[in-house]
């Protein structure tokens, strides 16, 4: 087990190293000179040269990379051109909002997806199974931004049950209740597709497990059918699904961009969309780094969870 954990940690570090190189290259592969962009078209050539030297842009790339990484490791991701503030605190506060949204969506998608999948498998080929399959098909084929807009029209504009956008009302003190009201629609929208995907995979995986002999062994022991599903089949299904759940968790984090834009959720996705439009490269760079890092961490967590849940992995 310890060797497995060390191995996984090591490979996570290697992936992060690759990510950092790619993120670093973003700046250098973008067309146009960032210094010229910073100083504008009226800048004198001498000023451009001076600022370039000041920013260390005349150094060889490896030197620049090492400097950038060592700063990044100390939490210094540079300053935002647009906001003229350090990038990291800005990113982190926005990332927190994204995390709240993604976790809420994950709770909905995982619990409902697994539940629907199990119900489907247990009622294989019966009406319930077909209804769930139809619902999943529908959910997968509807684009999230469209569902979000329909939700706003129905629940915010017509019924006035839920707020249409933002994380808190513009006035008044923030509270859990207000946050929750603002969270319901974006989280549900974000959860829709992953939930449907999880439901379908859970169904097929559960059917596969139910056809295995140990399920029959349990029945032959006199374990009631419902207990067989809970004690024997579900655990084996879940272990087989951990990888998928990890991937979906990553998708929830990355997919938040669309939903944040539709619902004006102050997350890292909407921040990056703004930054891209305004050529605020430090923000984009930092944002990619934060998202990529959280992706790698989710993957690491998935692998470790898998090892913890499946005794067959532990010994190797």
């Amino acid at each position: 087990m310890r060797r497995y954990v060390t191995q996984r940690l090591l490979s996570a570090v290697i992936v992060l190293f690759g990510v950092s190189i790619m993120v670093f290259m973003v700046l250098h592969l973008t067309p146009g000179d960032p210094v010229e962009i910073m100083l504008g078209p009226t800048a004198r050539p001498g000023d451009i040269e001076r600022l370039r030297a000041e920013l260390g842009l005349t150094d060889p790339l490896p030197v620049q990379y090492v400097r950038w990484v060592s700063r990044a490791l100390q939490g210094d991701l540079g300053r935002s051109i647009q906001l003229n503030r350090p990038v990291l605190p800005e990113l982190l506060s926005r990332f927190q909002a994204t995390l709240i949204l993604a976790v809420a969506a994950a709770i909905i998608a995982f619990s409902l997806g697994l539940l629907l999948g199990v119900i489907s498998a247990v009622n294989h080929n019966r009406l319930v199974d077909r209804v769930v399959a139809g619902f999943a098909m529908l959910a997968v084929s509807m684009p999230a931004f469209w569902v979000g807009m329909i939700g706003i029209v129905v629940f915010a504009v017509n019924l006035r049950w839920l707020p249409a956008s933002g994380m808190y009302p513009p006035q008044g003190t923030p509270s859990w209740g207000k946050l929750l009201a603002h969270l319901v629609m974006p989280a549900a929208t974000l959860a829709l597709v992953p939930m449907a995907v999880i439901a379908r995979f859970t169904r097929s995986q559960m059917l596969e497990v139910l056809s295995q002999e140990f399920v029959l062994t349990a029945r032959a022991k006199g374990v009631p059918r419902a207990r067989v599903i809970i004690d024997h089949a579900f655990g084996n299904t879940l272990v087989a699904l951990i990888t998928l759940l990890g991937l979906e968790a990553g998708i929830l984090l990355a997919g938040a961009v669309y939903v944040e834009t539709v619902f004006a959720w102050p997350g890292i996705g909407s921040l990056m969309v703004e930054a891209i439009l305004k050529r605020d490269f430090p923000i984009v760079q930092g944002g990619v780094l934060v998202i990529a890092t959280s992706y790698v961490l989710i993957n690491l967590l998935t692998d470790l969870l898998h090892a913890a849940a499946d005794p067959r992995i532990r010994v190797t």
Partner: protein, 328 residues
């Protein structure tokens, strides 16, 4: 006076729906099992022996369309599912072919053995684990007390099959159904597992229904044997009698095609042809197309299972005539 059979199967028919039509996997089986005896069921793959086993426990995926399964005087086919669950693992237990797949890979073996004890004997978790260790000791698993905490993948195939047997006998059932319990194991391990089954029978007086395609296993272990072909029992009798003087041409062919029934130096003679395909309906005797002794009427009339004396039964028109002749 002969004792009452613990299991009395009459006219049992189990069918599967398939693309090729209705498959009559079990097609009118009669079978008795008496307390404490080991009855072998032999036949080729697809002869319906496993379908028969699963039908007894009502765990078949097919449909039981006719017949009776009397267990201790009670027709199992009349019971409600909840009553059936009380019986499974308690009075009738089952061991499966492949110990690699018949254990839950995520559950410690002690807990898997303890499950039946907890459901049927209402033991506490702790008592069930303690009893599981005892059972593992009884099936000669070395270091049983520690092994209860192992996962299946930490055990070898033979050890897993011991676990499966411990699981089967945990509530000292009246009947243990073993579906090819040694087929997936190495030859040396096979003998150990067979010994274990025989030893268990002697200790607990549990009747065993042993399903196998291995005539050697039958010769070594079984008091009586039923030979199955195309979903039917074609011959039934004491093992020694059947081996010494097979009555049904299929049994003769089966014994001739394996080393166990032959003299040293005699060549093996495989049975020509193939058994009927699943779903195929053969007019007359299902074995007639492969039978070297078949006569014209064999292809027209399906024979019944006839008592031919000495507790022996055969399903063959040739024997039927002999029986009629000697009776008249």
């Amino acid at each position: 006076m002969t004792p009452e059979p613990i299991l009395r199967i009459r006219g049992l028919k189990t069918q599967f729906q398939s693309a090729a039509g209705v498959v009559r996997a079990v097609d009118g089986v009669d079978l008795d099992v008496y307390p404490g005896e080991i009855v072998g069921i032999v036949g080729e793959s697809g002869s319906g022996k496993s379908a028969l086993a699963f039908s007894i426990l009502r765990l078949t995926t097919g449909r039981i369309v006719a017949g009776e399964v009397q267990f201790r005087g009670q027709n199992l086919l009349d019971l409600r599912e909840a009553e059936m669950e009380k019986l499974r693992g308690d009075r009738i237990a089952m061991i499966f072919q492949d110990p690699m797949t018949s254990l839950n890979p995520l559950m410690r073996v002690g807990k898997q053995i303890g499950e039946a004890l907890r459901y049927h004997l209402r033991l506490s978790r702790r008592a069930a684990t303690a009893k599981a260790a005892e059972l593992l000791q009884a099936v000669h698993l070395p270091d049983a007390r520690r092994r209860v905490h192992d996962y299946p993948h930490q055990l070898s195939g033979g050890q897993r099959q011991r676990v499966a047997i411990a699981m089967g006998i945990s509530c000292t059932p009246d009947l243990l159904i073993a579906d090819e319990p040694t087929t997936a194991l190495d030859v040396t391990i096979q003998a150990q597992i067979l010994n274990l089954i025989s030893e268990t029978r002697q200790r607990t007086n549990t009747a065993v229904l042993l399903i196998t395609h291995d005539l050697g296993v039958v010769a070594q272990l079984c008091d009586r044997v039923a030979v199955m072909y195309a979903g039917q029992v074609v011959e039934q009798g004491r093992t020694a009698d059947v081996f010494a003087d097979p009555q049904h041409p299929y049994t003769i062919g089966l014994l001739g095609s394996t080393p166990h029934g032959r003299q040293r130096g005699e060549p093996l003679r495989p049975i020509p042809g193939q058994p009927p395909r699943p779903g195929e309906i053969v007019a007359g005797c299902p074995f007639a197309p492969r039978c070297t002794l078949a006569e014209e009427h064999c292809r027209r009339r399906a024979p019944d299972l006839i008592h031919i004396g000495g507790g022996r039964h055969a399903r063959c028109l040739l024997r039927t005539e002999v029986a009629y002749e000697s009776a008249s």
